[in-house]
């Protein structure tokens, strides 16, 4: 517990970032037609639900919301073992849709690679865009986010934690130094 902790975003900071991202998503896509949200478990699915709510407030339209668990698509089974699986739940077709993939923290990009492979198994989206609350750098793959809440320069040994209240409302983002 003697870790050095810095608060990157407090609750209202997180809320404002999500609201801005919602506007950016609608602006970039000229509205909400053929737009769907898919959050990456666990964390991204909660944020995707927040974005869905805000888009409904702005446009008055409830856009489809799904969740993807990428454990089956990981590239490190041999080194990390059989991690517990979550559930993928995409109860709508992705063919021809503009999919906004949502994650909490963008780091190496490997999770996003796995999530895109998973989405492709569900159909052929017209486009995949990426929304993240935090981009902490250190990419290992040629992947970038379309919508970013906050860019945070970090060291590899540091840890970025997005915290959620009960009811899965995001409450803070902290940077933990070793």
């Amino acid at each position: 517990m003697n870790k050095d902790v810095t608060v990157i975003l407090n609750k209202s900071g997180v809320q404002r970032a999500l609201t801005r991202i919602s506007h950016e998503i609608l602006e970039r896509n000229h509205g909400s037609d053929n737009l769907v949200l898919v959050g990456i478990r666990s964390g991204g699915d909660f944020l995707a639900a927040e974005l869905q709510q805000r888009i409904q407030q702005i446009e008055g339209v409830e856009i489809p919301l799904g969740a993807v668990d990428i454990t089956m698509y990981r590239d490190d089974l041999d080194s990390r073992g059989s991690l517990p699986l979550g559930k993928t739940d995409i109860p709508f077709p992705l063919d021809g849709q503009k999919v906004v993939l949502v994650d909490d923290v963008l780091y190496t990009g490997r999770t996003i690679r796995a999530a895109m492979d998973a989405l492709m198994d569900f159909g052929r989206p017209q486009a995949i865009q990426l929304a993240v609350l935090i981009d902490r750098g250190h990419r290992e793959l040629p992947i970038r986010a379309d919508f970013v809440g906050r860019n945070v320069p970090t060291a590899r040994e540091e840890n970025v934690q997005v915290e959620f209240e009960p009811e899965n409302v995001p409450s803070a983002v902290r940077l933990l130094k070793p």
């Binding site: 668990d69 089956m72 698509y73 517990p84 993928t88 569900f122």
Partner: protein
């Protein structure tokens, strides 16, 4: 939390937590079987050998489909078409297969303990798909998965298992599993088919099947293994059917929404009447469907497992 077992030799050596982890993992895999593209890359590059020394269609096919849906390469070897008929020993057969570097061998063998014997001698993971009259862990797991899915829980349920208890590896694995998850097991069958001391594995034994069925939440019928002993332990199949078969009348004694299960293949009109086998309470094809998800879970979990002591 990673899965600690390298092999799945039986339910006996699994903890309650490990069993629940397998069922939860299967729950996640089940969704893949209903996708348009029924394949995930999880076990890409892994080789799975299905080594079957006894006839099996359902279990072998289920393991094969499970492996293929996880993108592993699966190869089937059955005793009738292999060098076993030319006199090779089990260990030599296995060593020859191992020289080709499989990651997992799924094996069925007529001798109890055969998979344990190979697990001690080979480097790859071994999954027991049935050894003699000993264990059939994937069957018990798919049974438990089906019960949990349909009734929402296993703890506290009354499960009646009826039929040939002596020759059944299904009953042993189910006894271990249901006891570990807190169900109450009742066994019933003809006296010649009840092995002495089986109640020590955690069950109440009845000779009258009506007593076993009364108030049960699950009625699991076992197959009379006609090819094994049909003649010596039973006077006639008609008599067996009359005293130990499940029919609409004795099923009424069970709970109203009780599940009717059978590991297959069924002898219709012998241990189970057609009207029950096709009736609204049967979950027999759900068992088969869930078998693929459960076997995907086993293949996935042993692939990341570590060798543990003991």
């Amino acid at each position: 939390m990673s899965f600690a077992q390298k092999h799945i030799l039986g339910i006996d050596h699994l903890s309650r937590e490990e069993i629940i982890q397998i069922l939860d993992t299967a729950d996640s895999f089940k969704e893949i079987n209903t996708r348009a593209i029924k394949k995930v890359p999880t076990l890409r590059g892994k080789t799975i050998v299905n080594l079957f020394f006894e006839a099996s269609t359902r279990t072998r096919t289920s393991f094969e489909i499970a492996g293929k849906r996880l993108s592993a390469d699966t190869i089937n070897i059955s005793a009738s078409s292999s060098s076993v008929v030319k006199g090779e020993t089990l260990e030599d057969t296995a060593r020859n297969i191992e020289a080709m570097h499989p990651d997992i061998i799924v094996m069925r063998h007529g001798a109890s303990g055969a998979p344990h014997y190979l697990a001690d001698r080979l480097d790859c993971s071994i999954i027991n798909a049935g050894d003699g009259a000993h264990e059939h862990p994937s069957q018990a797991l798919l049974d438990a998965f089906t019960i949990r899915e349909k009734l929402g829980r296993i703890e506290g349920l009354n499960v009646a298992i009826i039929g040939d208890l002596t020759h059944s590896r299904v009953v042993r694995s189910n006894l271990y599993l249901l006891n570990k998850l807190g169900a109450k097991v009742r066994l019933a069958g003809p006296g010649t088919m009840i092995p002495p001391g089986i109640e020590k594995l955690g069950a109440t034994v009845y000779h009258d099947i009506n007593q076993a069925i009364e108030g049960a939440d699950v009625v699991m019928m076992l197959r009379i293994q006609l090819e094994r002993q049909g003649k010596t332990l039973l006077p006639t199949l008609r008599e067996y059917s009359r005293f130990y078969g499940l029919n609409p009348n004795n099923l009424k004694l069970a709970q109203e929404n009780a599940l009717v299960m059978h590991p297959g293949p069924m002898n219709r009109g012998v241990e189970i009447s057609s009207s029950v086998a096709d009736g609204p309470q049967n979950v027999i094809l759900d068992q088969v469907e869930n078998g693929v998800a459960v076997r995907m879970a086993l293949l996935y979990l042993v692939s990341g497992g570590e060798e543990t002591e003991g």
